[in-house]
């Protein structure tokens, strides 16, 4: 179903909104002034390609064709001499100049729930502290005041492994990801919608305005004598929601505005089209967008959890990943966005180098791969290595806090900058002791 954008005219004069706005003016900071100031910094964005279930390093970025643990997977040349990756990613191989491979990721977390939390927040689950997902942290740090779109948008997340790893945690709901799910239609193909963005079709534009005006009357009489945080947040979120409803920026979700050839290049599937949507959102200044690859068909799942039939399963997933990711990088470059857009590829852990009896690979947190590319990253290089059998990191081990610190730095953020947590303790963007990988940074 094609997305019908709400015309600005439906909020004619925005009488309802301005009434809501008027009642807020005493409490909220003046947005306009801040918009002007933030205009001076080039907007940076991050796109996270999240591989739900833990992708095999051996069949992606760290093939071991000469060792028995490598299985049947072949290695291929890339656009950078001396760097070889698995045969399943031929197009990504041609973008190697943009990418820095980390082949020495290492953690102790081999359980989906804990590892998903660890990689997505940079922290291990710990009692009462609810750590925010990376997207909320980056979104909060880089959101431009006055933006019509939320700071963090999550496309097709599969949250069941650990719902807490997909929230804004102690940063609060203002920074929680806006979740967008793909809808697939036989005629129209894949489309995306923000749920409940449109009022019921039986309501006229004037009626919607009147409703907001009546709401303004009620808000004014209640909140005037109750200037407390919950009421302010309620009003603020309504203001943001209405702004998004009437914003021209929501045309970002209308993929049918793209040339058919562009849509084709990304792949006509939820992940491919999700990557295209990510580009459209980044173009409009959204600081953080994540796209999950959960299964070949695009539905829920942890497709990379290849305990059985690993080689075919990973090959099929790469068939979706390869065109989407390579198209994203070249598209960003053509539009002059790649310089300021960091693209991260990772899952919660890797897979056992030893092949199991079901031709599968099991959970393996000890030595695996992640990839950084684009903005802030010196591409065309490999960091770290593992032993010949793939069983252990041989040089330059990278811990999760180090990865987070590197991501922060690539985004122009200080990893030791802090946010105040729900228990009143300041929490750095990357955990204490994190060391960014300097050679990977521009």
């Amino acid at each position: 179903m094609a997305m019908q954008r709400m015309s600005r005219g439906r909020f004619c004069g925005l009488s309802g909104l301005s009434l809501l706005g008027a009642s807020m003016s005493g409490w909220l900071p003046r947005l306009a002034a801040q918009v002007e100031r933030s205009g001076q910094r080039p907007p940076r964005s991050c796109i996270l390609l999240w591989m739900s279930g833990g992708p095999s390093q051996m069949e992606t970025f760290d093939p071991h064709p000469v060792h028995e643990n490598g299985g049947p997977t072949k290695a291929i040349e890339t656009s950078v001499a001396g760097i070889r990756i698995a045969e399943h990613l031929p197009r990504v191989a041609q973008r190697m100049q943009d990418l820095a491979l980390i082949r020495s990721m290492t953690t102790k977390e081999g359980d989906h729930t804990r590892a998903t939390y660890y990689l997505r927040t940079g922290y291990l689950p710990q009692g009462p502290l609810t750590y925010p997902a990376l997207g909320s942290v980056v979104g909060k740090a880089l959101q431009r005041e006055g933006s019509d779109l939320p700071a963090c948008i999550s496309i097709n997340p599969f949250r069941a492994l650990n719902p807490a790893a997909f929230t804004s945690g102690f940063l609060g709901p203002a920074w929680s990801p806006l979740v967008v799910a793909a809808e697939t239609d036989a005629d129209q193909g894949v489309s995306f919608q923000v749920r409940n963005l449109k009022p019921a079709s039986r309501l006229s534009g004037g009626q919607v305005d009147e409703r907001l005006r009546l709401l303004g009357v009620l808000e004014q009489s209640f909140l005037a004598d109750r200037p407390d945080a919950p009421g302010r947040s309620h009003l603020q979120s309504y203001e943001r929601a209405v702004r998004m409803m009437k914003s021209a920026s929501v045309e970002a979700f209308e993929l049918e505005r793209e040339d058919a050839s562009v849509r084709e290049a990304y792949g006509r599937n939820p992940f491919g089209q999700g990557c295209l949507l990510a580009r459209r959102l980044v173009e409009r200044g959204v600081p953080f967008v994540e796209v999950s690859l959960n299964s070949v068909a695009g539905g829920a799942g942890r497709g990379w959890d290849t305990h059985a039939d690993n080689f075919k399963a990973v090959g099929d997933l790469c068939g979706v990943l390869d065109p989407a990711w390579s198209a994203l990088l070249s598209d960003l470059q053509q539009r002059g966005l790649l310089e300021n857009t960091l693209v991260v590829w990772m899952g919660e852990f890797g897979r056992t180098p030893k092949i199991n009896e079901n031709a599968g690979r099991d959970h393996w947190p000890g030595s695996w791969s992640a990839v950084l590319g684009g903005g802030g990253i010196r591409g065309g290089q490999v960091w770290g290595s593992v032993s010949e059998d793939g069983m252990e990191v041989r040089e330059n081990p990278v811990r999760v806090p180090d990865l987070m610190a590197t991501i922060c730095r690539a985004m122009g953020l200080d990893p030791s900058a802090t946010n105040l947590s729900n228990i009143g303790r300041p929490i750095p963007l990357a955990d204490h002791g994190a060391v960014p990988i300097e050679p990977l940074l521009v």
């Binding site: 009692g127 609060g172 929680s176 009620l218 004598d225 919950p230 979120s237 998004m244």
Partner: protein, 544 residues
């Protein structure tokens, strides 16, 4: 005299030495004081109010006015029944001319199943706050709620409830079998097992969870090493963890299915990454009396819930106080420490003593708190000095739990909720209720800082449920109001206000809304717009 003693005790308790015995056989001073002075609800409430009046006076605070009946009836229903009152319930209360109608309403709500249900949800949030973080935790929620329901519906005293939780046998709870089978057993079983499972059955997590939930002590930071400014040391943390050492460490790969039978007689634990094993000891180093054939958990439970354990009763009081007042006397609610003193130590001590004197009867505590003037103040700010929530000088404006919000929407709009019959706590995923609860689930823990997300706002504004509730064809309340022939538009307006906000419109609202209704081509459609605005207002989605 009592007040002075309570004040002094309040100070002493924070300075008690590690060697101070607090075994049940040697009741502490606090328990003696509590036992010697059992007050009635009215007396205890009056005493609390006297303390607050003095505190306001000495700090130049002008408290807010006492709430109107309209304000009170809405707040009390939300706090005791977990939903807004029905129109008829508001009308009945407003028309009631008895002078004691407020406490009469408290009594009747405490007797209702709605109270049991609401307290079940509140205490589930308090005791297993991480339950919704993963699938295995979620599966156990209905069983935990069913267990709490049994406790509250049969009026089990708080100390007995906690003792049962801390000593429940997990061997036959389905935890040692196949994961799926365990899930289905626990789904229908009434059991507090979730308390253990969400803490991964790890001794260190259980020790930290027990200390926070029932003692108000945050030991978590002492788990890894000693902090120079923290009273709790690593050895103390692991001594408490040793009571749970009967649970073997769980294999991370295999998840919960790897938990084997508990060793009841295990009483020591090795501190990880350290060449040191510690014996089980209570919080301040007191040595347990192991007796004959008692498991480590039973010994721990006896100590935690003993009448002489000052941490236990104060934590209970602080939690219940926060449920009704938006914020604890110690805030955050489970962070009692020298660095975080209580705002009103005398109130805390008085209520803790009374809690002991009344044998840990939670209803006594609820009756007392709701009886106080400080609870019954208006939320309307009339003086600058009322803005600091630590003063409790006006009623707090608080966020609702997702359950309170949905049940209030259901009540206001006349939506009839379908429940599953095998366990009413299992909510089918496809129902509007489940969708709502998921969207409005909150990570934050202070209702005073409740925040609204864009998706929540969009769901309230444009979502199917509120849309149906404000459409003339589908809304019970709206349909009834619009179609009832004998009502004037003004009466219709008033009914919608009572349904959503439990109050009549003030003059300016009446004028604005009626003018809109009269100008519109369709008065019915205009009333639907009014109802939409009411349900989307801060006043509806907050408790105040």
């Amino acid at each position: 005299m009592l007040k002075l003693a309570a004040l002094l005790l309040g100070v002493c308790l924070f300075q008690s030495t590690p060697s101070e015995p607090s075994e049940p056989s040697e009741p502490s001073a606090a328990a003696v004081a509590g036992a010697s002075q059992s007050l009635s609800v009215a007396e205890a409430a009056a005493e609390v109010d006297r303390i607050f009046e003095r505190s306001w006076q000495s700090s130049g605070v002008q408290p807010a006015a006492v709430s109107s009946d309209e304000e009170f009836v809405r707040r009390l229903y939300l706090d005791l029944a977990g939903r807004v009152p029905a129109v008829s319930e508001v009308r009945q209360f407003l028309a009631d001319e008895r002078s004691d109608k407020r406490s009469a309403l408290v009594d009747s709500l405490l007797d209702s199943p709605a109270f049991v249900r609401h307290f079940t949800i509140l205490w589930r949030n308090a005791l297993i706050p991480e339950a919704f973080n993963d699938l295995s935790g979620r599966r156990l929620v209905p069983g935990f709620e069913a267990w709490l329901w049994t406790q509250f519906s049969s009026g089990v005293p708080y100390d007995r409830m906690v003792r049962e939780l801390l000593t429940v046998s997990l061997d036959s709870g389905g935890l040692d079998g196949d994961g799926a089978a365990a899930g289905s057993v626990l789904r229908s079983a009434s059991s507090p097992a979730a308390f253990y499972v969400i803490r991964e059955m790890r001794p260190e997590n259980l020790a930290a969870g027990t200390a926070r939930a029932f003692l108000g002590v945050r030991l978590d930071c002492a788990q890894c090493h000693d902090h120079p400014f923290d009273r709790w040391k690593q050895g103390q943390f692991w001594s408490l963890a040793a009571f749970y050492s009967g649970f073997r460490p769980v294999d991370a790969e295999a998840g919960m299915s790897a938990v084997l039978a508990e060793r009841r007689d295990s009483r020591s634990i090795a501190i990880p990454d350290k060449d040191q094993t510690v014996q089980a000891a209570f919080l301040e180093g007191e040595q347990p009396d192991w007796g004959l054939n008692r498991s480590a958990r039973e010994v721990l439970a006896d100590w935690v819930t003993s009448r002489g354990n000052p941490w236990f009763s104060r934590m209970a009081v602080n939690r219940v106080w926060a449920l009704f007042m938006g914020q604890g006397i110690v805030h955050p609610v489970d962070d009692f420490s020298e660095n975080n003193p209580p705002s009103h130590p005398e109130v805390l001590q008085l209520l803790a003593d009374q809690m002991v004197a009344h044998d840990f009867d939670l209803q006594f505590l609820v009756r007392t708190i709701t009886r106080t003037r400080v609870y019954q103040l208006s939320s309307r700010q009339t003086h600058e000095s009322q803005s600091d929530p630590l003063r409790f000088a006006r009623a707090a404006v608080r966020g609702l739990t997702p359950e309170q919000l949905f049940d209030s929407l259901a009540e206001a709009t006349g939506y009839y909720q379908p429940y599953r019959t095998d366990n009413p706590f299992v909510i089918s995923a496809e129902t509007p209720r489940a969708t709502f609860l998921e969207l409005f689930r909150d990570e934050g823990d202070s209702p005073l800082q409740k925040e609204t997300t864009i998706l929540q706002a969009l769901a309230m504004m444009n979502g199917e449920f509120v849309d149906a509730a404000t459409s003339l064809e589908n809304s019970q309340t709206l349909g009834g109001v619009v179609e009832f022939p004998l009502m004037t538009d003004e009466e219709r307006l008033e009914t919608l206000f009572l349904a959503a906000l439990s109050r009549r419109p003030v003059e300016s609202e009446r004028t604005a809304m009626l003018e809109y209704v009269r100008q519109s081509e369709s008065a019915s459609a205009a009333l639907a717009d009014v109802f939409w605005a009411l349900l989307n207002s801060s006043e509806f989605v907050l408790n105040h």
